[in-house]
Amino acid sequence: MSEKLDLLLDVRGVSKHFGGVYALNNASLSVVRGEVHALIGPNGAGKTTLIHVLSGALPCNGGRVVFDGNDLERRSMHERVTLGLARSYQITNIFTRLTVLDNVAMAVQSRVRDWGSSFSFWKPFSLDSAIIGEAHALLAQVSLSGMANRLAGQLSHGEQRSLEVALALATKPKLLLLDEPMAGMGPEESERMVGLIEHLAQQVTILLVEHDMDAVFRLADRISVLVGGTVIASGSPEAIRGDAEVRRAYLGDEVA
């Protein structure tokens, strides 16, 4: 593979331990602008921990992360979002007591880079037609238009997962970190989510953590395999499928 590729995210030797347990051990991987990069690995491999470290929710104990030319060390969670790094959560994390529209509007509003705007005390929000319009557009994109005025907590699991993705998307990121977007979904809902991600892939670079191998091989341009906190292989789906070490360590019978 060419080294001249336009790297959007470069993770170099990142480690993270909880007490004595290494969740990440010198993990390295790079995401090229424009691709869908899947991160796979067995349960407890450290995938979610990596997402936490990338998004700034957890500090790492060593290594470097460069995103779009910026060293992320010491950057807070919200600064990283401003740089264009957004995430979804494996365990749905939305505003359950707000309406679906308010959820997305809040996310859209965050993008108004000029902070004066969100520190605006006087003008009623209901007059912010631009934000509300964009929120509706986003809801249409994730097929939640009909739910706009429901409380988010009342949505079905699958709908909440879609809202979760919409929240991340609303910040207009350069890189979207999706942590198991299909977790707990039935086959039909999963199929819809795969379609959505396929569609999103045309607009934004995606780092996708996913267990569903069919989905991964359908969506991914490249795949990295995380085992025991270390990336043991990175490459095209074909290469990963054929990689002996990966088969031994992880894929095993699943794709045999």
Partner: protein, 317 residues
């Protein structure tokens, strides 16, 4: 809880209540109970203090147990300024507001690093610090407090007249409530309420959560300082009781009774509590048992307060 929304009906009701309050001094004069005008001023000032705490607890979700520090700071600021000859309300009241705001920025900047119970306790600790510092300063009157020999000078208005003072307090409270209503519906208000709902998600959406909370906390502190300035004027004294932790507790009681996170919750709670106190103290010296039982009942059976009972609070389905 959802985001706060004021309905038209609620606005109309507020206007009628306001008109009623404007007429109160004449009404009292008619039935020969002018003493109550001064009492009414005190109620409105406490309502302002409780409203300022409601901004912090009800909208910002920051359970501060040290709000009395800002309330008292405003009162002492006015009294100390008066001692050194500054009696103009136009100087003293903004100064009181500013001092309380500055104190709140300082306390908030440190306290907001902690979460949950630790936040409750550290705000209490700061308030205790202020309390003991002030009480041990002999120059500020120690346990007796610092008397304010005369009410602040307010342009051509004579605040020594209880009715005039009452109208000024009412105007300030009405303006603050109007402002709070605007804030609740503004971008800032929505952000701060969403932080109350889910802080981590807000940070992950790119909001500098700490800054928003600090601004909200300080705004609450500033308004408490203004209430304190008025209280010193009403009572003719900057009393250490205003700084006491029981005062913080009472303000909390007011907003919980009235409705946490409802624009009018603080007012409803303050009026209810103080009027009940006034009424029951006449009947029994042990009215605090009644207050305790009422409070328990509210916590157990009406967690959204009186406002919640009548559906005045938040968005309904």
């Amino acid at each position: 809880m959802g985001l706060y929304a004021t309905t038209t009906r609620r606005r109309i009701a507020a206007v009628f209540v306001l008109l009623g309050l404007v007429a109160l001094p004449w009404g009292m004069r008619l039935i020969g109970q002018e003493f109550y005008v001064s009492f009414a001023s005190r109620v409105l000032i406490m309502a302002l203090a409780a409203t300022s705490l409601n901004l912090v607890i009800g909208f910002g979700g920051m359970v501060s147990f040290g709000h009395a520090a800002f309330f008292g700071a405003g009162a002492y600021c006015v009294a100390v300024l008066a001692e050194s000859g500054v009696t103009s309300a136009w100087l003293a009241w903004p100064a009181a507001t500013g001092v309380a705001a500055a104190l709140a920025v300082f306390v908030g900047a440190i306290s907001l690093r902690t979460r949950g119970v630790y936040f409750i306790m550290i705000t209490l600790a700061f308030a205790q610090m202020v309390f003991y510092l002030v009480v041990s300063l002999k120059t500020w009157g120690g346990d007796d407090g610092l008397p304010l020999l005369q009410r602040s000078a307010f342009g051509s208005l004579n605040l020594k007249d209880d009715s005039t003072f009452y109208f000024v307090v009412l105007a300030i409270l009405a303006f603050v409530l109007f402002m709070l209503d605007r804030i609740a519906h503004s971008r800032f208000g929505r952000v701060i309420q969403s932080i109350r709902e889910n802080e981590v998600r807000m940070e992950a959406l790119g909001y500098p959560v700490f800054s928003f909370k600090l601004v909200c906390f300080s705004l609450g502190g500033a308004l408490a300082g203004l209430a304190g300035a008025l209280m010193a004027n009403q009572a003719g004294l900057a009393s250490p009781n205003l700084l006491h932790w029981m005062q913080s507790g009472i303000l909390m009681v007011m907003i919980v009774i009235g409705g946490v996170g409802s624009v009018f919750g603080g007012v409803v709670g303050a009026v209810l509590l103080l009027v009940c106190e006034e009424a029951f103290v006449e009947i029994t010296p042990h009215w605090q048992i009644g207050l305790g039982l009422l409070l328990l009942a509210v916590v157990l059976w009406a967690p959204l307060g009186i406002a919640g009972l009548f559906g005045w609070g938040r968005n309904r389905e």
